[in-house]
Structures are given as structure tokens and as C-alpha cells.
Subunit: 315 residues, 6 copies
Amino acid sequence: MDVITFGESMVLFNPDAKGPLRYIHTFSKTLAGAESNVAIALARLGHDVGWFTKLGDDEFGRYIECFIRGEGVDISRIIKDETRSTGLLFKEHFAHVNPNVYYYRKNSAASSIAPSDLDYDYIKSAKILHVTGITPALSDRARETVMEAVDYAKAHGVKVSFDPNIRLKLWSIEEARPVILELCKKADILFPGIDEAEMLLGENEPEAIIKAFHEMGPDVIALKLGKKGCMVSNGKESHFVKGYTVQTMEDSIGAGDGFAAGFLSGLIKGNPIKTCGEYGNGVGAMATLVKGDVEGLPTFDQLLTFIHKKKHIDR
Amino acid sequence: MDVITFGESMVLFNPDAKGPLRYIHTFSKTLAGAESNVAIALARLGHDVGWFTKLGDDEFGRYIECFIRGEGVDISRIIKDETRSTGLLFKEHFAHVNPNVYYYRKNSAASSIAPSDLDYDYIKSAKILHVTGITPALSDRARETVMEAVDYAKAHGVKVSFDPNIRLKLWSIEEARPVILELCKKADILFPGIDEAEMLLGENEPEAIIKAFHEMGPDVIALKLGKKGCMVSNGKESHFVKGYTVQTMEDSIGAGDGFAAGFLSGLIKGNPIKTCGEYGNGVGAMATLVKGDVEGLPTFDQLLTFIHKKKHIDR
Amino acid sequence: MDVITFGESMVLFNPDAKGPLRYIHTFSKTLAGAESNVAIALARLGHDVGWFTKLGDDEFGRYIECFIRGEGVDISRIIKDETRSTGLLFKEHFAHVNPNVYYYRKNSAASSIAPSDLDYDYIKSAKILHVTGITPALSDRARETVMEAVDYAKAHGVKVSFDPNIRLKLWSIEEARPVILELCKKADILFPGIDEAEMLLGENEPEAIIKAFHEMGPDVIALKLGKKGCMVSNGKESHFVKGYTVQTMEDSIGAGDGFAAGFLSGLIKGNPIKTCGEYGNGVGAMATLVKGDVEGLPTFDQLLTFIHKKKHIDR
Amino acid sequence: MDVITFGESMVLFNPDAKGPLRYIHTFSKTLAGAESNVAIALARLGHDVGWFTKLGDDEFGRYIECFIRGEGVDISRIIKDETRSTGLLFKEHFAHVNPNVYYYRKNSAASSIAPSDLDYDYIKSAKILHVTGITPALSDRARETVMEAVDYAKAHGVKVSFDPNIRLKLWSIEEARPVILELCKKADILFPGIDEAEMLLGENEPEAIIKAFHEMGPDVIALKLGKKGCMVSNGKESHFVKGYTVQTMEDSIGAGDGFAAGFLSGLIKGNPIKTCGEYGNGVGAMATLVKGDVEGLPTFDQLLTFIHKKKHIDR
Amino acid sequence: MDVITFGESMVLFNPDAKGPLRYIHTFSKTLAGAESNVAIALARLGHDVGWFTKLGDDEFGRYIECFIRGEGVDISRIIKDETRSTGLLFKEHFAHVNPNVYYYRKNSAASSIAPSDLDYDYIKSAKILHVTGITPALSDRARETVMEAVDYAKAHGVKVSFDPNIRLKLWSIEEARPVILELCKKADILFPGIDEAEMLLGENEPEAIIKAFHEMGPDVIALKLGKKGCMVSNGKESHFVKGYTVQTMEDSIGAGDGFAAGFLSGLIKGNPIKTCGEYGNGVGAMATLVKGDVEGLPTFDQLLTFIHKKKHIDR
Amino acid sequence: MDVITFGESMVLFNPDAKGPLRYIHTFSKTLAGAESNVAIALARLGHDVGWFTKLGDDEFGRYIECFIRGEGVDISRIIKDETRSTGLLFKEHFAHVNPNVYYYRKNSAASSIAPSDLDYDYIKSAKILHVTGITPALSDRARETVMEAVDYAKAHGVKVSFDPNIRLKLWSIEEARPVILELCKKADILFPGIDEAEMLLGENEPEAIIKAFHEMGPDVIALKLGKKGCMVSNGKESHFVKGYTVQTMEDSIGAGDGFAAGFLSGLIKGNPIKTCGEYGNGVGAMATLVKGDVEGLPTFDQLLTFIHKKKHIDR
């Protein structure tokens, strides 16, 4: 396996029109989950990748299982929980503000994941273990599971990749900060967003942020700067990598997950860190061109074509 | 108020096709709730009726509120719970078996209803308080609330109407039996189904069932016999009332709630008990002629027309 | 009652795509009506409000009744007309011009409203009676009814609020002008649009318009200036109140009704006239952010949040 | 032209689900009209056929025009009325009773058709003029138009075909009877239903009905007996022709129009009257196999195949 | 006949959402075809116009037949091919690039059209024969058919109108160039696009392009310059005609066909060439305002209103 | 691998209503393919199963790939053909006859499969190779590929399972018979239908059919008798196994594929041949209870529950 990742994926119900949900008559079913987004993105780029979670023994769980397996991700380590349900998510869209989110994930199957659910040999088989800051926010046991997996990976030569993904709907910044910082310290590869960095470090200047994170431990840092692009550093060299401008953005959700996947793909293929940043920017931008988190994710060929074309145009 | 009732109503998501939910792409939003079905049925029959519950302070709660108020039911005693969500329900339809139901109602706002949520003066203002055996299955506090409301009603001259509505998805028959029987004893008007009576009493012969329930306390008993009709008794006289045959039944759900509303309407209007049974049979049958729990419920004029026509045809 | 209003609401059929209706296969049902928009907006802002009309004794009439009652508006004075139908409205959307409208409202139930349909005690119970210039365009009897209601209100200390709402599809400006001007004279609170003022007075300068209307009679004038905002005056002081800019306007219909409701709400709560103008601008702007006339209308808390945020941003 | 016919066609809005329209969210647009059904059926059977009406100068009128022209019917004599709208029709479906119909056709363009709208040379060019009893129910002028057209046809050697089509939603049987009987007398070919014959003649025995109608004038009578088939007579010979049984009937509307077209087609092709009855039965049965009035109408080859197969099976 | 044209029309399946087709669940059926677009546009402008093709003897062929006949185009010369299918087309839409197209038209009925399918008397009856460069790309026989029809028309005094319409999905520019140039030479009226002219002539300067094409043969040239408008020339005079700006373009497909129809309509009505260019620009612009190739096409009155309004605005 | 199979799967477009396709506006995308149905059924029953084909390098091919991989079938041997398209299929439903099918599969990628596309080691790794009589009907090369694969399997100890699946839309019975009989002779396990047996052998008596097929070669024969069930034989013992009655059959397509999968699953698990027949009957019956070929397929637990319940009921 190139990359193994785990975390909660939920069934997402999207209203068929904008406005308050009370006036909406029909909803479309799809799926959402930061870690499975990364896994699907990596599979499409040509990597061997595994993702696991706990799912309810219900039709929503089976839907998630079939969809992600269909994308070519190894799901052999998924665990079914007969006593809990698969989590749900409803979106509510407006013309002028970000969508509202209504969660039905409290006590979901995924939130009950525990260290005993980990297949240690499986983790050991990966080059990289990727985790996010969403999982430790789900429950105490989920937090322990992340820590345990990360510690085991580090102890067995598996690189740890970490995307803070701070979700203030799940915990307060006060609750989140110590946990996230602990994971930042354990990580080898770190994907902070500029806003997250400010929340964690009280610092908003890219170079200073990268310096601070390096001091904590990570060798490789890819600081996401939104539409501007990213700043990447491996301790020896650092680069600002300009983002690719896209005229019409359909859906910004999934861009960060696409960035992480593109960057990791570059690393695994042994590219210079600047190229990794370009891959991250490219996958992130392409993810926004289609509605849905994963529908717009490119194959490696499509990524190269996009980057080439964009460079040509922007010149 | 002629009747006051309370209990949980949920947003119901109906798949747009038959088969396992994992293969379904779109869902339609509507609502479900035994007590609000009774309330809407009574309102349509021309009665002053109030219904209340606890709702999440969310769009699903506001949907339930607007829909039921729109039907002419007094909802002024609804309570909003800012810390809990409104409950949900997904159905899964098959050609050959009853629909599956997936609940997302654990720890819902309605399940947290407590005696302190009761407006005692409001209850006192009613001629009849109608409760079901669903509410005590939701939580300990919900069970206490039902008991408290029933006791208060009895103490203040408000008749208590009780529909056992045993839901084995929410509790086992062992858990349910003592609670349901306690409520049967407190009730003035009782709406058992024949299957429920057998589960509660180990008895399946209508006359014997009616005798047994009368001995527990209720003055008026309407024993539902499914398509066959009902047996009604007020202790002095008892009648078997034949059900109205309908060729094409669209949706059997809501038939029992319609029966209770039709019967109660007859009682309130001072009809002989046999007529009450006919009204119950009529509203129950008409509810099954349209998909959805409440869409087929009749006005009083429509009910009389239906009964008249059916009697004419069946002769 | 804080406000009572009346007028025609119709069932609106919206095509599911843009372009000539002959090529459209499916239509969605919703409802339209200037006065019921104002009533719903006021109810959502927390006021006691009543609205009535004449409806056909048909399913379209029952739909309007349920929807508006669901929004918390008192509809107890609605009258059913067994001999006439509820009016209909079809929209036809294009990318480059305003939507076409096809009316099926000639001889509708609402157009037959007559003075004898008025519940005078009900009108007397209100602080404000709100009418529009649409109703007198429907029929002679409807015009008489508006005049009668307005005269009765004035005679019994109920303030009269009037929105000219000149609809050139229903009558010519020559037919409309004398009727509208007569109602302007009778009004205490007046909501002219700048274009309407020019049609009525031949004047397009805000200060001059306000002066001219004050001379006719109204104490309070809120002149709507579209996206620019409004000019408000109570005879003693007058203010230009800048409109709130919204980036993406989904649907401009209902903005004027929202404005009137926001302004009236401010008045009823005893605010200075400038604040009333801000409330009007705010509700009007928020109505445009969601498709549909009433779906985007705010609660009072949502209105204050919006205004606060906008002021902050615009600084 | 083999056949010319005229009458009102309306845009039909079909709810996308069963139940009271107030609960229906979406409607599908199609078209309805007895005379245009006959015209389309004849065109599909291979005849030259013309149909005309008055349409509103609106998108609904243009829809009707394009649809019927698309089916190969000559519509060159359609008249546009700029002052009136095209008529509409809403259906409401239930599981247990016939659909309700809500008309918006009062004062429609078609109802204003007048004798001056007739193109006499066009009528003279036809072998058969087909009219129904719906048109005279629309307005006085429409009734005069039918009478005028029929008289002109008779005077110029064009055979008159008449389908009573008594619609009690448009006029009472008392109003209808003298007009319908007058048209029966003028007709050469008559298509009464058995129920209509009873309403008109107080007679329910097929032979007696046929005798009575022959005495009024018509040479050819095809008495429709519903699923049983028909009794046909040309004065010299008469036959009972058994109907074709179809297991699943999707939609019975349009069966009578299909019958008339099949029968007329047989006549025009010079078949014995019994064969005409078989063609009528066949087209009528096939029309019921598909939802919609015209979608199931056969080509002549399809009709022969169906009849052949049915005869084979029924033996 | 004013104009006769022929070529392949296909059933077009449009996905109901943007993104890769594998994620799309539902598709809407409509139709596509450059020559039938021109025919429909001319019919709507009031001309007698005929269009023909070969269609499969299947429901998709019957759909195309009914639709185009419904628009008032003479389709009497359509040929049915019992051994081949009607061609299909799937579109795939993205936010940032032109739609992908998936053809299922190889060996379609239309691609098998042969010189023996031509009705020479029909062609001779027209003032103008319009052909495009799509047909010769379909097959050798189709190419021969175009050549034969064009030669016959020229020999019998029918003007030949030619739109190169180079489709690189059907043939390479190397294959296309000699065929297209041969047709340019035979044409009387030519509708090249500026990009096509560059591909054919290696020239991108409008005056030079027009000169070069005149030298080949055509008397009348309308060079399409996209949004900028067109340059028109009849050899004696030439004009640059500015395009009409439209704010929101829904669908650019069909604009070129609309241009050709508008220009030809102007010619047929005997207008100066500059007016013809204005008509072409107008119809082309209006076609883009509605989704679909033909839905936005104007009547002659609508065209004049649009041009008048645009001139007024642009001044 | 327990079973390996190969053959064409197509994207299936289902009309959203019954009736001729020309009147249908929307279509839903799903997939169809006899061999992939068997593969999915076996995967759901818990087996390791591989399926392969040639797919176009297009979105329809990617859809098929993702869907079947999502179901847990190994698709690693799929081949992409950049020069051909993935095949399509349109259904047309009527109330009274079997659906029409319109194929767009001529020269599809799958029809071009050739012996050189076979991965011989992969085939050798299976216990059973399953093929059908559809593949040899697609092209000469496809027929050679089936023969080659079957011969290779037999030579390497892999059992050959064969379902004749005679499709008269693809070839005549005269063309089919010798090829199908040749494959019957090579097969170890044979799944003829009773009608197919009659077409192949001119014999309609089950025992005689089984005897005749055994004489050709196969050791195991499961003769499908439709709703009646099946007759199974392994040469030593033979049994008639009664089918499970289902009240409401949603969709009979896929029943035969389900039968084959159930039977093969029983064999692989080492069950007596009668039990294999029961499994076949069970999976076949369950497949018909849900619309779609694969949606109703059971897990092994669901199969046992169904069989147990049916046996209980039928007693």
C-alpha cells in the first residue's frame, strides 16, 4: 500500500434547491468524508490505497462501502457495528452564505472506533498513514485510536501525514488545540491551512508558520493558502507555489482533500517538493470544477494536462 | 379544546423507488407521527384540537411545526430544544414485505420531553387527552411525562384516550407490557388492536378481550380487527361493526390513527357507540386510499358520503 | 391583531426550466400574492397578523389556506366561494428579460370579493389595515371592498397602510391613476416605488415626491428606490436610508412586500422612522436571497444579525 | 381530406402522484381534446385529416398547435384569438374513484368559436365531418357553429359523423338532451355510448336503441358497449362485435375517441360494417394500454397485428 | 418552397447535472441537427421550408419526425431505413470547458443516405438548397449525395447555400479541406466562420478571406465573426455588421445555424445585404438566450422587436 | 477465484414512464449484462469471483467498471479499447407486452473481444469458468474467444459452466444452434431453459431433455422450468425442485442469472444437487422482487432466511 487512511464517511443528503430545508421537497443521496476523499483521489492518481472505518450494518453503510470500493480503494478492513447507525449529513444551500450542515452522527458507528479495531499489520504495510483532525473530535475512543495508529506507524517506519481539518461544529478551539498540536508534533508531513495555523499558533505570516511547525517536528510542511496556492517546505528548501485560477468554481468542498492527495502523490513518486505543491494545487483546483467532493478528481494524465494548460495560459 | 394530544413527530424520507436504499438516488420529505395523525384527522373532522411535542431548533422542526399548524391544529404549546435534533425516519420499500424503517431518533428533542414541559392548564381545558404507547417507549422521562399528564387529566375530569401502539423496534414486549397495561388501567377510552391484545393479555377472542379490558378500568373500548372492522363496547352494549372494503389500498399506515380519530369524533358529537365504530372504520378506510398518513383523511361531510355510499354498495 | 390585510393569492406554477412554455414538460406548484407575502413576513417577524380573501372551494384554495395558516397567519376570515375557482398564475423565465406571466384569474373567487364579505369587528381589532393597489384592479366589487374597508378603518382609529403596487397587466395607468391616488389620500402610511410615483405624479425627484404625497394626506411615507434603498419621512424628519448590497440576487419578486413588512414592523415596535427604513431595506434584501416570495423572509433575530453584519461589512 | 373535425383541445396538467392536489408538488404538461384525439388516431391509421379550433395567442396554444401538427394532422385552419386564453385542465387521481377534473376553460379562446370562423370550402373538401357533443356545451356561439358546420356539410354531400360525448360537468342533461338529439338527427354516422343512449332515450336495450336512432335519421350507428364491445348497424344488417380483452388497462380515457377513429377508418376504406366495428374495438382497446389519450394509438399495421393476435388468443 | 435542406438529426441525451457521465443518474431527451435547426428557424420566420434525412424505423426516428413536423417544416421526403438505427448523441457538461460529445452515429440511417434517395423534382421546386459540411463527413455515399444535390440544384437554377461546419470529431482537417473547398466553389451563398476560414485558407483577415472566397465562386458571403458580428459581401458592396451583445448566454450551440437562417430569410425577402447580416446576427443572438438549439428561435416579429430594442440600447 | 466469467455489459437507459419512447422525456441510467449479473450474485453470496470484458475508454465504460468493482467483483482483467464505444441498451415498457429493446452495441468494444485478450493464468486460477451463449453471438472473434477460453479451461482442470441464453435479436436459431450445441458439449455444468432446450433439441419433456444433454457431455444439468422451478441432475440422481412462489414480481429479468449463481454457489460449497437447485430457485426468485437485475440479489444469510420462510409458508 502507498497510503492507508481512516475516518468517518457519512451519507450526505443534498437538497434539490436552495433555501431553508423546510421548503425543500426532494433530496439526493451522495457521500462525504475527508479521509475517503483523499483515498479516492490517490486511487484515481494511480496509487494503491486503503481506507477503513466503522459502518452501521445498514443500507447506508453498504452504500458507502460499495461506492468507495467502486473507486478502486481497498476497503477490506472496514468493520461493521450492528448496534450503531451510519452517520448522516444534510446540507442547506443559500445564494449568499456558505451552506449550513445538519449532522446526525452523534454515537454513529464511526464515532465508536477504538484502538482494538486497528489492524496493525495492515498499517505497517503502508508507506504513509494519513489522518485528519476530524477523527479525534468524534469521541474519546476515536481520539485514542488516532493516537495509537500514529504512534504505531512512527514506531514501524511508516510516515505519518496529518491534515488538521479543524471542525468547530464538533469541538471548540480550546478543546481542539492541544489534541491537534500533539498530532502536528507526531506528523512527518503536515497540511495546515493558513486560518488553522493562525488558530493554533496565533501567527499569520507563512514563513513564520512554517518555521514554527518545523520546530515541532514535521519534516515536510504544505501550508494551504486558499486560492493563492501554497507554501511548501522540507526544511532544506521552501517555495511559494501559485494556485491555478479557475473561472467558475462549482463546489469548494473537497479542495483541501484533493490538495493533500496531489501533494502526497508527488512525494510518493519522488518529485521535488515544489512539484508536489503544483500537484496539490492542481488536484485541489480540479476538485472544485465539479459539484461533489470526488467527481472532479483527476487521473494522473488529466492532472498533467491541466497543469500544462494552465501554465501555458497564465504565461 | 375537544382533544389534546402529544408525542413525537419525525421528518420522514421516502425513497423514490422500491429496493435496497443503497441503490436509491432521491428521497422525498414528508412527516410521520401517530399522535399528530390523530390531531390532523380530528381537525379535518371539524374539532378544536391541540398537539404538542419537543422539536429541535432546526429546519426539520420548523417543517413539522408549519405543516401541522397549516392543517388547523393548535401547536401553541410546542417546545423548542436548542441542544437536540428533530428525529428522522427513512423507509425502505419492497414488493413482497412490509417496509423497513431506519430511525434517527435516539436522543431526539421529542424523546427528552419531561413532566416540566407540560402546560397543565392547557390539558385541563380539553374534553379528552389522547396518548399512545409510543411515547413511553422513547425514554424514562417521556414515560413519566405520559403518566403525569394522564394522572393530571383524570384528576381534573378530562377523559383519557389511549392507543397502545406497541412498537417492538423501540422496546421488547417484556419492557412494554407493564407500562402499557398501567396506561390501559388509567384510560377511559381504549383502542387496542387484536394483535396487541393478544400480546398483552394472551387472549385472542374479541368478547373475552373486551371483558378483560373493562375489568381493568376503561368505560369505552374499541377493539380494532383490521380489515374486518372493530368491536366496540361501552360496558352496557357492545357491537361488532363490519369494516368498509376498499379495492385498492395505497398505504395502510395511518389507518389505526384514523380509526381513533373517527371514533373519538363520534363520541364527542354524542353518537351511539355503534355509530362511533362506523366513523372509526370509515376514517381508517379512507386514510388507506391515499399514500401518506394524513393526505387521505376526510372532512366530516366526506366521511358521511363515503359511509353512505359504502353501505349502499355493500347491501 | 397588529396588522390585518386582504387580497388575492394565487397558485403559481413555475416551469422547471427556462424558455418558452411550449417546450417545458414539468411545473412546480407554489403560491403568490402580495398581501399574503406581507402577512407572512410580519408573522415571521413576530407579529399577530391576519389575512383573508375569497377562495374557490377547491384543492387549490385549500392549498393556499393550509400554506398561509402554516406560516402562523390568522386565516379565520377566509370565505369560500362554491361557484368560482381559485386564481392561477404561470411564469415563463428567460435568461435576458423579466419573466412572462400568464394569469388565469379572470372571474376568480378572489376577484368577486364584495363589501359584504368584510368582518368589520375584525378590522376594528387591528392596529393597522394594509391594502394594495392590486385588489381594486380585480373588479368593481373588489375596488368597492377596498374603499369600504379603508374608510371603516379610518373611521375607527385603525391606521391605513397602502402599497400602490400598480400592475399594468390588470389595468391601464389611466384606469389605475384616479383609484390609486384616492387610496393614497386615504392612507396613513404609504409605500410608493419611485417608478410608480413618477407614473402617478409626473415627478421623479425623491424630496418632491415625498412633499407631494404628504400634501395629499399620509403622515408616513416610505419611498422605495430599488437597490439604492429608500427615503422615509414622517413629516417632521426625513432620511435617505442606503440599501444593503447583496452579491447574488436569486429572485427580486417579494422584495417590495418584504420592505413594507419590515417597515411596518419597525413602526409597530415604536422605532424611529430611520430604523423602520433599515428594517424595510433589510427584509426586502433578505427576501431576494432565496427563490420564492416568502422562503427567504427572516425572523426578527435573523433580521438584526443581517443588518448588523451588513453595516459592519459596508463600513 | 378524408375527415375534418373541430373542437376544443386544452393543456392538461397531470399531478405526479395520487391524492388531493394540495399535497402535490409537481405537474406534467400534456394535452387533451376529444376531437383532436380522433384526428390524431385517423392520421396514424394513414388518413388525410384536418382539425381546427380557436387558440389563445399564447405558449399553451402554440404547444397544442405544434403537438397536433407533429402528429401529421392538418392544422392550417386554426384561428388565434389575441383576447382570450387557451383552456386548461387539471386532473386529480385517486386509487378508488375516477379522477377529478378542474377546468379553467370558461371564456377560453375555443369556447368563443363562431360560425364566421368556419372555412366552408375546407369543410366541403372532406368526405366526413366529425363533431362531438362537447362543442355545443361550450357556448351559444360554439353551438351555432356546430349546427352551421353540420348543415353546410349535409347540404354539400359531406357525411356527418357525431359522437354525443355528453359531459355533465359542462351542462345538465336537461340542457344537453334537445341539442344532442338535434345533432343525432342530422348525423349520418352516430357513436352513442350505452349510458348516453339511456340518458337520451330512456331505453337500455341495444336493439331498441339502434332502432330508435335509425328512425331519427342516421344510416350508420355504432353503439359503444364499453368492455363488452359494440353493436353496429347500417340499417340493412346489424352485428354485435365482441370487445378485445386487455389484462392491464393503463388509462381508459381516449378509448371512445379511438373507437370512433377506428370505425371511421374502416368505413372510409370501404369495409363491411362488422369489420368497422372490429377496427373500432381494436383502436379503442389499444388506446387504453398506454397512459395518455393518444400515445397508444396504432398505425394500421399495428391495428391488424393486434386484432389478429387477439382473435387467435381468444379462440 | 423557399428553402430545402437535408442532413442528419440525432436524438440528444442531456445529463441532468454537470460532471463526468459516470456519476449522472438521469438524462433528458431532445434533438440536435444543424440542418434541421436552419429549417426550423426559417419556418418560424415565416418561410416554406423542407428538410429531409434517412431515419431508422424506430421510436427515435419517429420522435425526430414528429418534432420537426410539429415546427411547421415539410418532412414529406424523409426516408425510413429498416436496417439501420437513428443516430444518438450524449453531452457531458463541465463548468470550465466546452461540453464533451459522445456520438452513437456510426452506420446510422442518416449516414447511409445515397444519391438515389434524392427527390430531384422536390429540389428543383426550391429557391435555395442549403447544405452543410457535416453531411459529407458522414460517409462516402453521403458525400456523393451532397455533391449530386448541389450539382443538380445549380443546373436547375436553384441557389446553393453552404455552411462549412467543419467537425473535427468526424474527420481530420486534411480529409475535410478538399471536400469543403469543392463545396465552397459550388456555392452561391457561403457561411464560413472566421476559424474555419483560417483552417481552409490559412488567412485570418476578414477582407482577405472574403476576397479569396469570392474568387472561388460564391456571389454572397457572410463571414461569421462570433460575438463581434459578421462581415457580409455580395461582391459589389461589403459591410462589417456589429453583433448584438447579450448579457447572459445560456447555450451557444445553434447560434451559427440561427445566423444562416436569419441571413437567408433576409435574402429571400429581398433585403440589402447589410440588413441580411443584421437578421443573421439577431437570430443567432436570440438562439443563445434559451437552452437548446431551437427553443429560442424567433418569429419575424420577435426578431424585429429584438433588433430594434438592441439598436436603441446600444446607441 | 471460485468463478471467473466474461461477457458484454452495457449501459441501460430506462424510460421514466411506460409507452412509446418518442413520448418519453427522461431516462435513468443503470447497467445490464448476463455474466456480470452472475458475478455480482456470486460475490454477494460470499464467493471470490472475477469478471472481465472489453470496454470503451469512455465515461460509460468507467461507470460499468466502478459499479461492478463496487459490488466486490474482481475486475482487474478488464481491457480498454480506445477505438470503440461501450455498448448501450434502451428499454421501452408497455402494460401488456414484454419490453422492447433497442441496442446500440454493434461494433461495441465488447464485441471486439479476441482470444489474445484472454489472461490464461487468470482463467487457470478459477475453480469454474462461466460463459453464456450471448458472447458468441456478438462477433466471430467473440465466438472464437469463448471457444478458446472454454478449451483452455477444460485442458487445465477448470470446470466449464454454460448458460445458453439464446438471444434471437442477435442471431437466428439456425445460426445459434450449432454454436450453442458445441458449447453444450464442452460444458461440465449446463443451465438450459425449457424453451431453449426445445429450440435446440426439438424435445420438451424434462427427463428426455436431461438425458439428451447428459449424452452430449455435461455432468451436471440444471434445467430451468420458469416459475415451476427446475429439474437438476448429476447423472446419478435427478430431482424436480419446486420453485418459490412470489406474489408480486417486480422484474423477471435477471432471474436466470440469479438461478445460475445460486446453483453454482451450492456446488462450490459441496452441497447435494437438490440443495443446489433450491439455492438456484431461491436466488432467482429473490432477484425478481426488486426492479433491476442485481438490486434484489441476496447475501447467503438472506438466501437461507428466504428459503426457510418459504418452506414454512408453503407447507
